[in-house]
């Protein structure tokens, strides 16, 4: 292990954590403002520092101060230790998943290829499934340890929902895995560069439209957001973190926003070609009608970073739009949608993809 590798890893880890946490913090503001604009309102705009408001961007700070200074109540008779660590059990696996999510195209610094993934491991997607599966424990333990019947029932609901939809999530991605022939995420993006017939970018969404369509509801259900927010459902059927206050409840909420960043990044990596920009290659734009626009390699890299970020941002906009548009499903509807529609459709997708791969590969 040489020094360069060590410095590189540390820099990558810090960049990733800063980016993800910063994005998740801003998402609390985005969610408020976007819903407000959608509903002809103005939204949170009162938090100010010395009278400067900048359209409510200080609201996350106000939220943080509120959460820190709130009473941190631990319910008696519950399991205190598990109650304490449950938010961490929910939060840490989700954060760990970002180890295999690429941040952008690989860079060349001082004659070395630097991957922008923290851990460049071959089992990328399997790692995501494995640790994504652990995240359900946080919710279940949190609900059980609070010694609240409603929270316990919500925890059971959560586990049923998340385990059901994990099946759909996995199956909807297996088609893509079969086509790319790899589970390494940067490898997947590399597979998606180039074009069909010189025109259409080789993005996963064009070759796996059904997979992409199935991935979205399954991912939202894993993310536990409306219309699949039965686990929380603060407004009427009580959720699993009812007994959590202060920063612990905030951590559960934060986890939700981080998961949103995660599924957006995952969707753009697997189905939207990651940092690939149509017709942009290492030397600049090569248009299908013959023109070329030569660009510096660093400009190209910057554009690819920008494109990746833009894709993630648009997807986050889309997921927030879904959250503020659709009403919540009933429990039996969630189960029916998961097992009777999404699951068979995912199997059909798998079958078609399998036949196509055998025939054309």
């Amino acid at each position: 292990m040489d020094t360069f590798f060590l410095i590189e890893s540390v820099v990558k880890i810090f960049t990733m954590i800063a980016a993800v946490m910063g994005l998740a913090t801003i998402l609390t503001w985005v969610e408020r403002k976007q819903s407000a604009v959608m509903q002809d309102r103005i939204g949170a705009n009162r938090a100010d520092i010395f009278g400067i408001r900048i359209i409510g961007l200080f609201q996350p700070f106000a939220d943080a101060i509120k959460m820190i200074t709130k009473e941190d109540y631990i319910p008696p008779f519950g399991n205190k230790v598990l109650h304490m660590i449950a938010p961490a059990i929910a939060y840490i696996p989700v954060m760990l998943l970002f180890a295999v999510i690429p941040m952008g195209p690989p860079l060349e610094i001082g004659g070395r290829i630097v991957n922008t993934q923290i851990a460049n491991i071959d089992i990328g997607l399997l790692f995501i499934f494995a640790f994504g599966g652990i995240a359900v424990y946080g919710a279940v333990i949190g609900g059980w340890a609070s010694n609240n019947k409603y929270a316990l029932i919500a925890a059971i609901r959560t586990s049923a929902q998340m385990i059901s939809y994990e099946v759909c999530l996995g199956l909807s991605l297996i088609g893509a895995i079969m086509i790319y022939g790899t589970v390494d995420l940067s490898q997947m993006i590399a597979e998606q560069s180039g074009h069909w017939f010189g025109w259409i970018p080789r993005w996963g969404i064009f070759i796996q439209p059904l997979g992409a369509l199935l991935f979205i509801p399954a991912a939202i259900a894993e993310n536990k957001r409306i219309p699949f927010d039965l686990p929380e459902a603060e407004s009427e059927i009580i959720g699993y973190y009812t007994e959590y206050s202060g920063l612990k409840g905030g951590l559960f909420m934060m986890t939700e926003f981080i998961e949103m960043v995660l599924i957006s990044a995952l969707f753009s990596v697997i189905f939207l070609g990651g940092w690939n920009v149509p017709w942009l290659e290492y030397n600049g734009f090569n248009f299908p009608w013959g023109g070329t626009w030569t660009l510096n390699i660093w400009v190209v890299k910057g554009m690819q970073f920008g494109a990746y970020f833009l894709k993630v941002a648009v997807l986050i906009y889309f997921f927030t739009l879904v959250r503020w548009t659709l009403p919540r499903f009933r429990y039996d509807q969630v189960m029916r949608l998961g097992w009777r529609y999404l699951f068979p459709l995912a199997l059909i997708n798998l079958l078609i993809t399998g036949i196509a791969v055998v025939l054309f590969a």
Binding site: V37, M38, I42, T325, L326
Partner: protein, 188 residues
């Protein structure tokens, strides 16, 4: 046993049954709302258009225009000699549906008048501005005036006392307010 529950059958077309189509339609509507409002917000922020993107009134700084027939602020009238008209007959306190008037009667200093209110409180947060107190008063001693009540504050008890109701410590006389607001809200 007789079947009491009637099943409600709604005929959904194929588009509703597929569900995705309807979801996409809904998403399109909310998306359009967002885009249109965002565009208006931007134009407003760049001072190209005066029209705003939201219908919100930012209350303490910005008041919505009030109709010139609006009556929402209690006033206790006085006689020509400056004494209160009210004789503490308790009609208004009795009729008030929200029980927000509280009167402490006392003996009047004027030998010709039997009683007068030593204290007269109106809880503005409970009041529904129904005007029944003004209607019930036999002496035209309490009225609802055109001034907009300032009920925004940091405490939860906005209680008008006697001096305030008589207009003794008002910042602005009500006539001034009336003249200012009469013209611009008439077209509603």
């Amino acid at each position: 046993m007789e079947k009491r529950v009637r099943e409600l059958k709604v005929d959904y077309g194929p588009a509703e049954n597929i569900y995705w189509v309807e979801v996409l339609k809904g998403l399109w509507i909310t998306n359009r709302h967002f885009m249109v409002n965002m565009w208006r917000h931007i134009l407003h922020a760049l001072r190209i258009k005066a029209e705003k993107g939201a219908v919100t009134f930012q209350y303490p700084e910005e008041h919505r225009p009030i109709h010139h027939r609006w009556r929402g602020r209690h006033r206790l009238t006085v006689k020509q000699n400056g004494a209160m008209r009210c004789t503490a007959c308790m009609m208004c306190e009795t009729i008030c549906p929200d029980e927000c008037i509280h009167i402490v009667p006392g003996e009047s200093p004027d030998p010709n008048v039997e009683k007068f209110p030593e204290e007269f409180y109106v809880d503005a947060l409970r009041c529904c501005f129904c005007g029944l107190c003004a209607e019930a008063c036999p002496l035209d001693a309490i009225r609802l005036d055109v001034i907009e009540p300032e009920i925004c504050g940091f405490t939860r008890d906005i209680i008008f006392n006697k001096e305030f109701l008589m207009g003794l410590n008002n910042d602005r006389p009500w006539e001034e307010w009336y003249i200012e607001n009469k013209t611009d809200s008439k077209e509603k």
